[in-house]
């Protein structure tokens, strides 16, 4: 059936809450109101006030409370309205949650999901537009999931909720208005499995989240010019599906990495380092990146657009490689 991205998230939440009564939802405006982006609509009515908790605006507090609940048998799914707000809760996320299993030698677990939303193109300016996945990939202990479409949103969220580890699940605000075919009933997409969304032979474009949709459009334009790009949707950044990347690079010998987050010390920089360390002899050209510019996201449309990836920017960089 055709669903919007928020409807797909909502379907996964409904199904998992019904399947497992240890699943609880916490966050700002998630209960009676149904969530700023409608992802938790109807949950309060269906499951009641002991399962769906409207919290005060206290990100550090309710994320930390999620940890305590997770350590004592619950599976909290926390809605963090904007990923930018994670920065007031970093002690809880990176010092407490990410380290719980390791520091305890495995005797404590933190099976919890922090669902959050990031990304630009909406005129939301510097504190409501960022993609901050690199911060959470830098510190070990979190799984990081970045769906690019409604079907994956449902399948990956189902997998995230059932995972025994803390998962940061990053939705992109541009995708909330997208619709797609979403399988009805149970839909499970395993964490750590990338997918080749467009096979090609001339170069590999690795991307995820909203930028993936730009990469697909770029590949179509490149095809019209006779450049055959292979496009990989990583879906999960940790665990990373290295094999799918390596198979593709061995085939095309050229790699372009496209993401919206800042380039400096970003995911693409780390992936480029891994590829040149392990596959140097396979490469016929330098690894290139299309990333967000290293500036706070500006407000004015012309400046914001200039700071973020676009189909044209991806096409341009791909041409340099091909």
């Amino acid at each position: 059936m055709t669903s919007t991205f928020p409807q797909a998230i909502n379907a996964a939440l409904h199904a998992e809450m019904k399947r497992d009564k240890s699943v609880i939802v916490l966050g700002e405006d998630v209960g009676r109101f149904g969530g700023m982006f409608r992802c938790t609509e109807g949950l309060f009515k269906a499951f009641g006030e002991k399962r769906v908790w409207d919290t005060p605006i206290s990100e550090s507090g309710f994320i930390g409370i999620g940890l305590g609940a997770a350590m004592t048998g619950k599976r909290p799914v926390i809605e963090l309205m904007f990923i930018d707000f994670s920065l007031v809760a970093m002690d809880q996320i990176l010092n407490q949650i990410a380290k719980t299993h390791f520091m305890s030698g495995g005797n404590a677990r933190a099976p919890m999901v922090i669902r959050t939303q990031g990304g630009g193109y909406k005129g939301a300016a510097a504190q409501h537009s960022q993609m901050l996945e690199a911060l959470f990939l830098h510190v070990p202990g979190l799984k990081v999931v970045t769906p690019s479409n409604a079907a994956d949103a449902k399948g990956l969220l189902t997998a995230a909720i059932r995972d025994e580890n803390p998962v940061l699940f990053i939705e992109h605000k541009q995708l909330y208005s997208e619709s797609g075919e979403v399988p009805e009933g149970e839909h499970f997409v395993p964490l750590g499995k990338a997918i080749v969304v467009r096979p090609g032979k001339d170069l590999t474009i690795v991307s995820y989240s909203f930028t993936l949709t730009l990469a697909i459009k770029a590949a179509e334009k490149l095809a019209a010019e006779g450049i055959d790009a292979e496009v990989i949707d990583l879906r999960t950044l940790n665990p990373l599906d290295w094999d799918t990347i390596a198979i593709s690079v061995r085939k095309t010998h050229k790699l372009l990495i496209a993401h919206e987050a800042y380039g400096r010390c970003g995911f693409g920089a780390d992936l480029a380092a891994q590829v040149q360390e392990k596959l140097f002899d396979e490469l016929d050209a330098p690894i290139l990146r299309v990333c967000g510019e290293d500036v706070p996201i500006p407000f004015a449309k012309v400046l914001e657009d200039a700071s973020l990836p676009s189909v044209e920017k991806i096409v341009e960089r791909a041409r340099e490689l091909a």
């Binding site: 206290s58 997770a70 002690d91 305890s104 030698g105 005797n107 202990g141």
Partner: protein, 323 residues
């Protein structure tokens, strides 16, 4: 304290508490020696003078109750029922430790015994305890959470977010504040304009009591009452337990630069262990020598166990990152 006319002492209970406090006192003495010998790595934060708090508070809890404590919380870890051999092994970084040597002294964790973690971050574990209380509240269980922290923690933002929600939702949690008058080396009066910490709880409508934290029975009874109220759905209690750390903040701090000798000496006189011993003597409780010897032996055996235990294998480095 002079013996007053009143109900007879529950000598079995008092002896148990006395023993628990002696174990902590002797363990701290030995850990300091091991630190000075370079056998114990990293920082060591002792709680000399505050022994009544872990003994009294944990004696009022059930095994199923959850606690979070600070990097100075080893006394609670033991009093909550964690195996002393595995605790000491963890403190000495051994493979047989509670956390296989991966957490160390500041991150002692033992889910089996309700220890959700000591913490290296001031205020880091407050929300964790409130989250455990949320779990117990949802389940309608006869379980509560207790979080222990110092006076300095009340100046950390995360603490207040968690307290606000705990009171809003009437969660079964006890906030046990060890007010030892100093946050590290800075006096409370130089950290906050309101030094009577119970007053700060009015902002959250949390029931707040100030007690003598060196009176082990007062600690026990206050925590027991707070626990009863918590499981009945009456919400959290904040206990400001007045006490004093007669040692320094950590192993290299003699604790003299920011406090007068007279002040320290005065509190040494008020040692909860000396005080309880006097009470037991006055009540003519027999067999204390055997209790004292027994407590020392438990500690010595644990240290011997830890020292004889292997270090972790390097091959275990990347294990336990994910479940």
């Amino acid at each position: 304290m002079a013996a007053k006319a009143g109900p007879p002492l529950n000598s079995t209970l008092l002896i148990g508490l006395y023993r628990q406090m002696l174990i902590l006192q002797h363990l701290e003495k030995r850990l300091m020696e091991l630190s000075q010998q370079g056998i114990l790595r990293g920082s060591l934060h002792l709680a000399t003078g505050q022994e009544a708090l872990p003994a009294g508070a944990c004696s009022a809890l059930k095994k199923e109750d959850a606690i979070t404590v600070t990097y100075r919380g080893h006394g609670y870890v033991l009093a909550k029922g964690c195996d002393i051999n595995r605790v000491v092994a963890e403190i000495l970084g051994r493979r047989t430790g509670l956390c296989k040597g991966k957490g160390g002294k500041m991150h002692l964790t033992d889910i089996e015994n309700g220890l959700l973690g000591a913490n290296g971050i001031v205020g880091g574990g407050i929300a964790t305890a409130v989250g455990a209380a949320l779990s117990f509240h949802i389940d309608g269980a006869d379980r509560i959470a207790m979080t222990v922290f110092g006076d300095g923690t009340l100046n950390q933002g995360a603490t207040h977010e968690a307290m606000n929600m705990a009171s809003l939702w009437k969660l079964p949690v006890i906030f046990l504040c060890e007010n030892n008058l100093y946050a590290e080396m800075t006096p409370l009066s130089e950290s906050a304009p309101v030094t009577e910490l119970t007053k700060r709880m009015a902002a959250y409508d949390i029931r707040a009591l100030r007690i003598d934290g060196n009176d082990v029975m007062a600690v026990r009874e206050t925590v027991a009452d707070a626990r009863r109220r918590a499981v009945k759905g009456e919400g959290p209690t904040f206990i400001e337990a007045m006490t004093y750390r007669t040692c320094g903040h950590y192993q290299n701090d003699p604790g003299t630069a920011y406090r007068s000798k007279a002040e320290v000496a005065e509190w040494q006189e008020k040692s909860p262990i000396t005080r309880l011993r006097q009470q037991l003597d006055e009540s003519k409780v027999n067999g204390l020598k055997a209790i004292e010897d027994g407590a020392m032996k438990v500690v010595e055996d644990a240290i011997a166990f830890a020292l004889a235990s292997p270090e972790p294998n390097v091959s275990e480095l990347k294990e336990d990152l994910f479940a």
